[in-house]
Amino acid sequence: MKAKLFDYIEKDNFVFNLSGVTKLLCFLILTFTVMYSYDVRVILPVLIFSFWVLHVSEIKFAQIKIMLYYVLVFIAINFVLTFLFSPQYGVELYGSKHELFALTERYTVTAEQLLYQGTKVVKYLSVIPLGMLFLLTTNPSEFAASLSSIGVSYKAAFAVSLTLRYFPDMIRDYNDIALAQQARGLDLSRKERLGTRLKNIMNIFVPLIFSSLDRVEVISNAMDLRGFGKHKKRTWYAFKPLVKNDGLAIALCVAIALAALAVAFFIDHGRYWNPFVA
């Protein structure tokens, strides 16, 4: 278990110098665009674009390797499960049937199903670079400031920043407690029965959670004493003001989103691209 989840290594390039607000907005706009569209002709350019931005931002492959593996496993499982559960979902969706070959009667591979599942793979793949970009190029301290400037209540934004601040502490506490309990003979591995394992996990949970509750008291007293929450608004130390490049980046993302919507409304007449109805 690593106390450090991801590295924020500051660099001097276009993407890093953008304000956190811009990156949050662009991330949200582009992910929702990709989520909405089921047209491979729209998603593929976004995918290429996001990998290009990833390249521009000089993020090293080693930094994103683990995430990439996780996502590939997830996509593979989703791909297999989709086919197992709904082998004819594409046929239902596109309203035509072009059989390619049959495995069994139920599991007939159709062109429609391949298009549907293929689009889905590209869709899920294109979201990853966007998320990684946002995560790896935004200073964690700036995150709360960004959230509050897109309209999230500053109290909720502060909770997010507390989460990021205390996560490594929690990992450390957890490790200390888990090692101490394991030294006393507690088994958490698969060798133990499910019921026993739950009981053993409780023996780590209780000290971890109760000490965290004490910590809640200490922190909230400290914040109250400093007058937290007295005013309706607050300012942020880590806030980066918006400059011309931020405007450019936001305009570009909005343009991509509008283009995707235009394709959906005027060309596809819906979320799905249907090449089978000629």
Binding site: M1, L5, F6, T31, M35, Y38, M67, Y70, F74, I77, L81, T82, F85, S86, Y89, K120, K123, V127, I128, P129, L130, G131, L135, K155, A156, F158, A159, V160, S161, L162, T163, L164, R165, Y166, F167, D169, M170, I171, Y174, R190, L194, L198, I201, M202, I204, F205, V206, I209, F210, S212, R215, V216, E217, I219, S220, M223, F228, G229, R271, Y272
Partner: protein
Amino acid sequence: MKKLFEFKTKTIVATGIGAALFMLLFMYVKVPTGIPETDVQTAYGLGSFFAALFGPIAGFLIAFIGHAISDAVQYGSPWWSWVVASGISCFIVGLAYPRLKVDEGVFGWKDVLTFNIFQIVANVIAWIVVAPVLDIVVYGEPANLVFTQGAVAALWNAISMGVIGTLLLFLYSKTRAGKGTLSKE
């Protein structure tokens, strides 16, 4: 009288710390059941405990933030439909908050029942209604797949909340001194 939607400094801090714990458990402390991708997430037990102690807003934010950040860190991007469903499940558990007096040391059989009724309703709504419907609407996933996944998630999360949540509340109530428990000698 406890207000359902109050958001004091203490609630904010509890949300932050709770979400950090939620993230930790969500990513690292799962109980494998033998079926791939369907571990019992102990994080929901914790989420329900915090929701019962600090109310629905804290519950919602803990699960929402915790789930979103751990998804982002592991997969690069949050799976929004399930993140929202997580938040809603802990929000509904949090509605039990004004009925419980755990921080005054009271957690009897009646309270166990109250907590578990809320918890089961919460899981059914979140995982059998909200998550699959959002999956279909937002991501265009096939219906029978997402409803099966939802039903499995509802079952495991209800077990997690029912066992871990109830136990934590019971143990926590034991550490609190109740009202009027001092006696004159």
